[in-house]
């Protein structure tokens, strides 16, 4: 049963890859076909993963056997099925959304290639998280990188897009090199490419090799996941792609990095030393804080969302890091709780980030701009989009009763387990995650008050915003699915959490099933402190109290609600230019955190007679890109310097080149005869 659905997933994506190319010249046919097959595949993916998650045994589908590298078999164990579920949920909504969006974005160009790549990209994502052979893992990983590269550079005529794509390609390839190293090292040790073999051989890994594998896997996978300081490609590449692809990249693709890390850490390298977890935790804290801080200063809505992905990967990684620390000391229930929190936040982030990117796509669709300083007042022109974007904003800001809060609550609870750690200094560093997470939450809320408030509320700041119209129904449906999921996974968190919990149990020996299962109440096992909360109750009470207050305050007397002008201190009329802008909104925080932002600004005032009557004022502000300048620029400069030195041997003279060959030959001969 599960196999059948899983095969449907693979076949539907394959057909979706081929069929649009057949109708190359007709966008009216190839766009719906591509997304219809993606939709079928996603639906089947959801069913297959739910079946696999609830079923007892792992499911394996073998495609073709190879004598050298082993069979290409895709298997759905707990972790793979969980990631398949994440991918399929987001791609379902995105595939519904994509048709009208692509029709407009593609314009006169053929979208056939894009549709084919879209399906191939999704297929590669599915295969990356399900394949159980290191060789094919790398193949599919590369496929995923390449297809996503082509999706990013769809708009290749724009110079920024092309550059962003190139940077993305270079960074992820460097990352792949590290992944390759760790997987090759593992396969040399295990004597084969199969993941089962890796797992069997992990006990005999020497410590030095283990550390080397961990470091390079961390470097490789966190490049993909966008962990600071390897995040620089992310805020460029994600916004450059068409919005529904950004939703997939930010929501799902970067999660493959986390998938890889969890797989390597808990399946191939256990038992893990505690300092690995500490390293991950510290990187995660830095990522979370810096990600949200840079997001705050961003006024391009898609870049803003991309920086939030850096932040949320940080939050997910906090859970992973804690799980490593706890499991290395043998606190299995605590490790289980942390990994559950990480997995739960992972799927939640996929959902709300997908929703927000689709919302950003809708804004771009109807206004043609991503710059929130040019927007405003969209709530009256696009009411449904606005409501859904608000849900996404609340969810990502960890506000109850939405799903973002549920997983942050779990993360907080897992940090509280630091009580168990014997070493006080380590415990203190772990506890630093509390203020880090809280600061992240507070700044994220600020950022989304800005993003929602400036974009959707008050008066339009430009013609484009004033003329915006609500997007077509399929786009709204796509967003609504994710919006509902945000609420459902929040309110229904006690029902859903046993799934990631069950997935996490497979990594720890002696782990138990989640005790005291109660569909109403999210309750921790008694061994881990008695904390409980019920988002369902909170949501119900919020609804009841709000309704009651509407009714009760409406009861008294016959009072009217009139509309009048906004208070303007007596100026004739409120104009859009008087409103707070996004830059003004975040300025206080820019000043408070100036040590991190290092803001630069230039103000030019042009005036004719008196400085009190300026003709024009131009204001330009920018942040100092610390990582690009301090880390990457230095590295690149060194590389260039070395390359220059190497150029000395390139004289351009053919005789010289022949002499090189001759010299090589002589050296080789000497070497052989020795």
């Amino acid at each position: 049963m599960t196999e059948a659905f899983f095969v449907v997933v693979l076949v539907a994506y394959l057909i979706g890859t081929v069929l649009p190319l057949v109708f190359y010249s007709n966008n009216r046919i190839n766009i719906p076909i591509a997304h219809a097959f993606a939709l079928i595949a996603s639906g089947a993916g959801i069913i297959a993963s739910v079946l696999a998650l609830t079923g007892a045994t792992a499911v394996t589908v073998t495609i073709f056997p190879s004598p050298v590298f082993g069979a290409t078999s895709l298997s759905l164990d707990g972790l793979s099925a969980f990631f398949l579920l994440t991918i399929s949920l987001v791609s379902l909504a995105v595939s519904i959304y994509a048709t009208p969006y692509m029709v407009k974005t593609a314009g006169k160009r053929s979208a056939a290639g894009f549709g084919a790549l879209y399906n191939l990209f999704l297929l590669s994502l599915v295969m990356v998280v399900t394949v159980d052979n290191a060789f094919y893992f790398v193949v599919f990983w590369e496929l995923m990188t390449l297809t996503s590269y082509f999706l990013v550079v769809f708009d290749y005529k724009k110079i920024q897009t092309a550059r962003a794509g190139f940077q993305y390609l270079v960074m992820t390839h460097v990352g792949t090199a590290f992944i390759l190293f760790s997987l090759i090292a593992l396969s040399v040790h295990a004597g084969g490419f199969s993941f089962a073999g890796f797992k069997a051989a992990q006990a005999s890994l020497p410590m030095g090799l283990k550390n080397a594998i961990f470091i390079s896997a961390l470097l490789g996978f966190s490049t993909k996941a966008g962990l600071v300081p390897l995040h620089v490609w992310l805020p460029r590449a994600h916004p450059a792609a068409p919005s529904h692809v950004s939703a997939l990249m930010s929501g799902v693709m970067i999660k493959t990095g986390i998938y890889g890390l969890i797989r390597v850490l808990f399946d191939f390298l256990s038992p893990t030393p505690w300092w690995w977890g500490l390293l991950i935790l510290i990187l995660a804290m830095v990522s979370a804080i810096l990600g949200v801080m840079y997001a705050l200063m961003e006024h391009d809505i898609k870049r803003l969302l991309a920086f939030h992905s850096v932040e949320n990967v940080g939050i997910i990684m906090m859970g992973v890091g804690l799980a490593v620390i706890f499991s290395s000391f043998g606190f299995v229930p605590a490790a289980l709780l942390s990994l559950t929190a990480a997995l739960f936040h992972l799927i939640n982030h996929a959902i709300f980030k997908g929703l927000l990117f689709l919302g950003a796509g809708s804004i771009q669709y109807s206004t043609g701009t991503k710059n929130i300083e040019e927007l405003g007042g969209l709530i009256k022109r696009m009411p449904t989009t606005a409501a859904l974007f608000l849900i996404g904003s609340l969810a990502i800001s960890a506000i109850p009763p939405f799903n973002g809060f549920a997983s942050e609550w779990l993360t907080f609870q897992s940090i509280l387990q630091a009580n168990l750690i014997g070493d006080v200094s380590l415990q203190l560093i772990v506890l630093l995650a509390v203020p880090a997470l809280a600061l992240t939450g507070g700044l994220a809320a600020t950022c989304f008050v800005k993003a929602f408030g400036i974009t959707f509320l008050s008066l339009p700041r430009s013609e484009r915003a004033a003329n915006a119209k609500e997007v077509p129904v399929p786009m709204l449906v796509g967003m609504a699915i994710l919006g509902l999921l945000c609420l459902a996974l929040g309110v229904g968190s006690p029902v859903f959490i046993p799934i990631p919990w069950h997935v996490a149990t497979s990594f720890f020996n002696g782990a138990s099933e989640m005790p005291s299962f109660n569909p109403l109440l999210l309750r921790l096992p008694n061994s881990q402190g008695h904390a409980s909360m019920s988002l369902l109750l909170v949501a119900a009470l919020l609804a009841v109290v709000s309704l009651a207050s509407v009714v009760l305050t409406g009861l008294r007397g016959k009072r009217s609600v009139t509309t009048g002008p906004t208070w303007d201190c007596g100026i004739p009329e409120v104009t859009p230019r008087m409103q707070y802008s996004a830059a003004a909104f975040t300025r206080p925080l820019k000043i408070v955190f100036s040590a991190i932002y290092q803001p630069r600004r230039q103000v030019e005032v042009e005036s004719e007679a008196s400085p009190y009557f300026p003709l024009s004022i131009s204001y330009e502000s920018s942040l100092y890109p610390v990582f690009e300048r301090q880390l990457y620029r230095r590295f690149i400069n060194t590389l260039v310097r070395m390359a220059r030195r190497a150029r000395m041997i390139q004289a351009g003279n053919i005789n010289l080149y022949l002499a090189y060959i001759f010299a090589t030959l002589v050296i080789l001969l000497v070497f052989v005869w020795r």
Binding site: S425, L428, V592, S594, A595
Partner: protein, 219 residues
């Protein structure tokens, strides 16, 4: 090692109070207020000294406590306040980084101090606390010197640092030999007098005690 029969709980509380006052100095900019906090800081130190004296039943530790009160609580703050009152210009110091950042650095140093104290004296109730406090206070004093731009605050930083060292010494030895102690007090008095002269001179020449002006002395 001294055994504390009286007031380990009391000592812990005092230690925390000493720490908080040292942290408060990091956030203050006004000279007078900093000096008052320093005086209070020294007073708490004197009380800790007296308690130690009671525990080790040693007369000269009491003397040290009294000397602390006379010199650090009364004399030094008085002459410094007098000096500050002669200055006409803006009586506020500036920090190199903003206050929240300096607080965050201080928290990091505090964690380091507690780690070092645990390595030295693990789990011995009043000693670990007081050692943490002593190390942390001396590092906060150093931080005060590094981060503030004004010479008056820097002098207070130096004195705070000395308070931290005094506390560490007191806790580790239960009162140093009498002559060493007298020497130290004499040193402190002399140092602050010297610095007083220096500050007066600086204020007279530059109309300010901001050390940024000294940058121009570079040849």
């Amino acid at each position: 090692m001294i055994s504390y029969l009286v007031g380990p709980q009391m000592l812990n509380l005092l230690g925390v109070a000493i720490l908080v006052l040292a942290l408060a100095m990091l956030g203050l900019r006004g000279f007078n207020r900093s000096l008052n906090v320093y005086a209070m800081h020294s007073l708490l130190l004197a009380i800790v000294t007296a308690i130690t004296g009671y525990n080790v039943a040693n007369m000269h530790v009491y003397v040290a406590a009294v000397a602390t009160i006379i010199i650090k609580v009364v004399a030094i703050p008085l002459i410094m306040i007098k000096l500050v009152s002669t200055m006409r210009v803006r009586q506020e110091s500036r920090l190199l980084v903003n206050a929240p950042t300096s607080f965050i650095i201080a928290i990091g140093l505090m964690m380091l101090a507690s780690h070092m104290a645990r390595l030295t004296m693990p789990g011995q109730s009043p000693f670990e606390t007081m050692l943490t406090v002593g190390i942390a206070v001396s590092m906060f004093g150093m931080l005060l010197i590094v981060l503030h731009k004004d010479a008056v605050i820097q002098v207070i930083g130096l004195l705070t640092m000395e308070n931290g060292f005094f506390l560490v010494g007191l806790i580790l030895t239960g009162g140093m030999p009498f002559f060493v102690e007298v020497g130290i007090f004499f040193d402190i008095l002399l140092t602050s007098l010297l610095l007083w002269v220096y500050l007066r001179r600086m204020n007279f020449e530059l109309k300010s005690t901001n050390t940024m002006h000294l940058n121009q002395l570079r040849g």
